[in-house]
Assembly symmetry: C2
Homo-oligomer: 287 residues x 2
Amino acid sequence: MHPHITGRTRLYGLVGDPLTAAKSPQLLNQIFIEQRADAVCVPFWVKAEDLSAFVAGARALRNLSGLLVTMPHKQRMLDYVDELHPTASRVGALNVIRCEEDGRWVGAIFDGVGCVLGMQWEGNHPANKSVLLVGAGGAGRAIAFAVAAAGARTLTLSDVDEQRAADLAKSVAAETGCITHSGPPDPHGFEVVINATPLGMNANDAMPVNPERLAPGTIVVDIINAPEPTQLRRAAHARGCRTQDGGPMHEGQAVHALRFLGFDYRPAGRSAPDDGVLFAPATNASR
Amino acid sequence: MHPHITGRTRLYGLVGDPLTAAKSPQLLNQIFIEQRADAVCVPFWVKAEDLSAFVAGARALRNLSGLLVTMPHKQRMLDYVDELHPTASRVGALNVIRCEEDGRWVGAIFDGVGCVLGMQWEGNHPANKSVLLVGAGGAGRAIAFAVAAAGARTLTLSDVDEQRAADLAKSVAAETGCITHSGPPDPHGFEVVINATPLGMNANDAMPVNPERLAPGTIVVDIINAPEPTQLRRAAHARGCRTQDGGPMHEGQAVHALRFLGFDYRPAGRSAPDDGVLFAPATNASR
């Protein structure tokens, strides 16, 4: 069941390469039907080398209302939007673009606030907690700013590239006021441990932290969204930790991205996000 | 009810301005559902001045399989395709583009053969008949070649621009071998009279031919597709002529255009088109 498409229907596109495993057209179209929106989401399969031509053509579409952006375009697309939401300028990537009626494109990425929303839904909100975040790449950057802004008591960042972790800690502290350090990936003494590295995507990856240093009751969040629990989650669970996989973060970022596009999406049994943190006017975002 | 859209779904677009009254997305999507094709047709609202940028972007879409082209792009789009079907090179316009797997775009227009198919469905096939065709513009050009190729005994072309009618008659005769003349719009003595002018679109238009010169039993085809019969059709009907409106031609061109795109479409109660005439290899069409 999908939206009824006429000459007046508004377009949303998912742009990336490959798109064979994409799920977002299904999600958006379901929401359009439920909310009786005259809109449809379709895949735009575009190779990296064709991005510039694609953007020129997409800007010629008077009925294009938004784009979801996936690999390999999440960084390069920054150069093609007119305005960046703070989420995107902090992370250095975007995954959603809102096409305004006046033709301006505004880019954003909600991985960080989506992670916090997912933690809140699972009863694992980081407010007033000591947090170790391992991995200072794209996802790690997004989560660092969001966890700090959500009121973590302290935030410790760890990365194999120590300088990258230190630089990010400085930026997060300056922007949020959260007490932020960088250090080794030792989970001992933290109330919350978040894996934002790719370790665990493959079955024989090393674990991002040593599970023997986890205390019972520690909240262990692994953003890897796999059908099977990662080795880290299994080990943490065995030690009596609370664990959370990548699913709630994925749902959380979808809630925020859809709200940014003007649609109210609420996964079954989930509460609405807190508007205050995220949707302050993006006055500093103009480029 | 519309096609189930995933990351693998093939795209068809209707490109034009405006698109508010367009019906073709509904028709195509209905066919895609019936034939279980993993495809969807969406509107691409593009202004005349943006056509070049649109084409650059559309060519970057690896999952674009075809375009339907409507006003104001039907002539200018000729410059953007790689190959023209003979239907399009004769008429100097196109309204459908097939995007081949190797990236080549092939343009065509099926108004002429669609008109003949519509006449055949209605029992008004022009084979072996004397035909007067009034109007040598875009639609008239298309119909002239198709009626001649379909075996009209003679074809007389009439236009307010007498030179345009004479030039077209010469081209049609040279290409089809049909005995083709140009002359005044006097329907006296013809077995078939076709109006391919816009006269009749507005209620107080003059009639394209003098109905008092129509003999009972003459076939009168008015390609104007309006809810109400045109003044010509009413007058012809009153004189005992067989009349036909623009509907069968519209259905007929849709059948041919969809077949060109690879889909078998048959309106209720209609027979299949004769492949022989139209779908000979388009070897002379390369540009």
